[in-house]
């Protein structure tokens, strides 16, 4: 039986202190995990861009890392790293890292060859070509990847909490389920959706700043 929306709203209001206290760990795990995955995927994407042979060697391994079922991996990570923030950060990073890496690597590859030829004719170094041509060319791809990953990130954080944590929206959901409180489960779900929307909005805002040139008239 599905509780009425009014009841869910009611639960959010009544349990606001509990929900707020448990949203904070989830936000922390999401943001820290995502920051980790961003820095690793960016660093790696640069390395792979400068070393195509490394790319060919490592890419299959990354693909394999994506085939591992999260249901099996998450409990292991929690087992190894305990109930603190660390395993959540790792799981969020594991889930979001690959889409970001692919977005960046594909983005570099999408650089207009004539722009690269032009820069080389100007005497640009490989690094200059990367900074002035390949990196900006990858930005639209980067943001496409970012918007997808950020939605995965929240789900991954909640799932990681569900598997084992002291606090977090995942724990609220778990406890509410165990005490047969679908209204409270849904209240936590609504909060997590709002959180996702909020983060999604942040990326959209960032995109408007970084890709502002695409909003001028003439594009599309």
């Amino acid at each position: 039986m599905l509780p009425a929306p009014s009841r869910v709203v009611d639960q959010i209001v009544q349990n606001r202190a509990l929900l707020w206290a448990n949203t904070i760990p989830t936000v922390k795990a999401t943001c820290a995990g995502f920051a980790l995955s961003l820095s690793v995927s960016f660093g790696l994407s640069v390395a792979l861009d400068f070393m195509p042979r490394l790319r060919r060697a490592l890419f299959p391994i990354f693909v394999v890392s994506q085939t591992l079922p999260l249901v099996a991996i998450a409990p292991l990570v929690v087992l190894w790293f305990g109930f603190d923030l660390t395993p959540k950060i790792l799981i969020v990073a594991l889930v979001t890292f690959f889409p970001m890496l692919v977005a960046l690597v594909d983005g570099y590859e999408a650089t207009d060859r004539e722009i690269e030829d032009l820069m080389r004719s100007m005497g640009a170094s490989r690094l200059q070509v990367f900074r002035s041509a390949r990196l900006p060319s990858a930005m639209p791809y980067f943001f496409a990847g970012l918007r997808i990953s950020i939605t995965y990130a929240v789900v991954a954080a909640i799932f990681a909490e569900y598997v084992g944590a002291r606090a977090g929206l995942g724990i609220v959901i778990l406890n509410a389920k165990n005490s047969f409180r679908p209204d409270l489960v849904l209240a936590a779900v609504v909060i997590s959706s709002l959180l996702t929307l909020c983060l999604f909005g942040c990326t959209a805002l960032l995109q408007r700043v970084v890709l502002g040139w695409r909003d001028v008239e003439g594009h599309r």
Binding site: E114, V216, G218
Partner: protein, 251 residues
Amino acid sequence: MSFLEMENVSVTLGDTAVLEKISMRVEEGEFVSILGPSGAGKSTLFRLLTGGLPLQGGRISFGGEPLAARKNGFAFMPQRDALMPWRRIIDNLTLGLEVQGTRRREARAKVMPLLADFGLEGFADHYPAQLSGGMRQRAALLRTVVLGRPMQLLDEPFGALDALTRIQMQRWFEARWQKARWTSLLVTHDIREAVALSDRIYVLSPRPARVIAEFAVPIPRPRLVEAPGAQAHAIESELLETLLQQTREHP
């Protein structure tokens, strides 16, 4: 010795022979065109000159030295304008100077006074997408010219423009060239353009490209202010005949 000399230059890409024993020369201050069908290998020749491809066979000397010894000899204008859509026009124009290590402020100070001459005044802060095709092409040319390199390589600079804009641009270009007399190598498949702008014309065969003819164009400038005269017409017909004969042999 000529300013630029190519001798028996050959290029194979993958299994495709693209250039076959190309020999050409360009004198200082001379405007030379390469006329050839699409896909012949004209852009490939430019990639060779600008260091995008290693020299596989033959010899290229530039300013009396082997090409490899001369860095930054060419200012290159690619086939499409290759303006970076994320940079404002002014930042596109200073790209080459920045690559060479000029500070942004100095680079801008150097470019700004040239905008008017290239019909770009008031558009420094626009993005390329906001400009017309002709303006983008002029911006690409200015980006090339501002480097002050000894020689210009122009790859079908007016190829993407509509007919009217193209004629306007050619006229504007001729006037501009007469003032500056840049040593230039122009790639085109437009016969009229080649005759209007060049001192000499090399005709290439379809791929693998060979030089099949060389024409001198001893017509006084400016040539584009009035309608082309009988001499221009005669050269144009001869060029057309040479090109058509080739495609007949290689259908």
